[in-house]
């Protein structure tokens, strides 16, 4: 049954070989023209606007807000399975979820008290 995965191994070898080849060959055959554009992020072909990493800067609050959003947003992922199967999980599931949410709230309290939620 495991033999069916043999192609996967083959591909691994192929991919690794290709990667090694590209990495070793690039310095020899590729032209070396470093410019600031190389460090810029690719933005769908649009002229990159002011970016934090290549000159201009975003205010730090964008960064903070985005981070906080991601972290707290992703916790929701655990609520979905529980919500779907709540009636089967019973009290145990409820208690576990409360503990989980309480823990998240501790982090939330930290963010709030430290001014992470203030825009100005």
């Amino acid at each position: 049954m495991l033999a069916t995965y043999a192609p996967l191994v083959g591909l691994f070898v192929l991919a690794a070989g290709f990667a090694l080849f590209s990495v070793t060959a690039a310095p020899f055959i590729g032209p070396r023209r470093y410019n600031s554009a190389k460090l810029e992020a690719y933005e769908c072909g649009i002229e990159p606007v002011d970016q934090p990493l290549s000159g201009g800067r975003f205010p730090i609050k964008y960064y903070l807000t985005a981070m906080l959003f991601i972290v707290f947003d992703i916790e929701i992922v655990f609520l979905y399975p529980w919500a779907v199967a709540n009636d089967q999980l019973g009290v145990f599931g409820l208690v576990e979820m409360v503990v989980f949410i309480a823990t998240v709230f501790i982090a939330y309290a930290y963010v709030w008290r430290r001014g992470g939620l203030e825009w100005d």
Partner: protein
């Protein structure tokens, strides 16, 4: 469509991510490549969950997402703090510690 195709795609993505870590200079991009590796694993996990008929793979994928998010926060915080001093996010510039 065979499940193997998904596994192959995931393997390719993983390799692309790994190569990206090796060749990119910008710390943020390096970090994005690592995220790509994690997500290729997610794809693998979900495929295996399907092929083995168990749910574990899907559950693990959730956990991986959360961990990845936490890693993003920590990573960006570190990269940003060094950027604010050095004015550069190139991983090659951070080269004081060696030999």
């Amino acid at each position: 469509m065979s499940l193997t195709n998904y596994l192959v795609l995931a393997a390719i993505l993983f390799t692309v991510g790994a190569v990206g870590v090796l060749v990119r200079r910008n710390a943020i991009v390096v970090f994005m490549c690592i995220e790509l590796m994690l997500n290729s694993v997610n794809l693998t996990l979900v495929t295996f969950a399907r092929s083995t008929g168990t749910l574990d793979g899907q559950v693990i994928a959730f956990f991986v997402m959360v961990v990845a998010a936490a890693e993003v926060v920590v990573g960006l915080a570190i990269i940003m703090s060094i950027y604010r001093t050095r004015r550069s996010a190139s991983v090659d510039d951070a080269n004081l510690l060696k030999y």
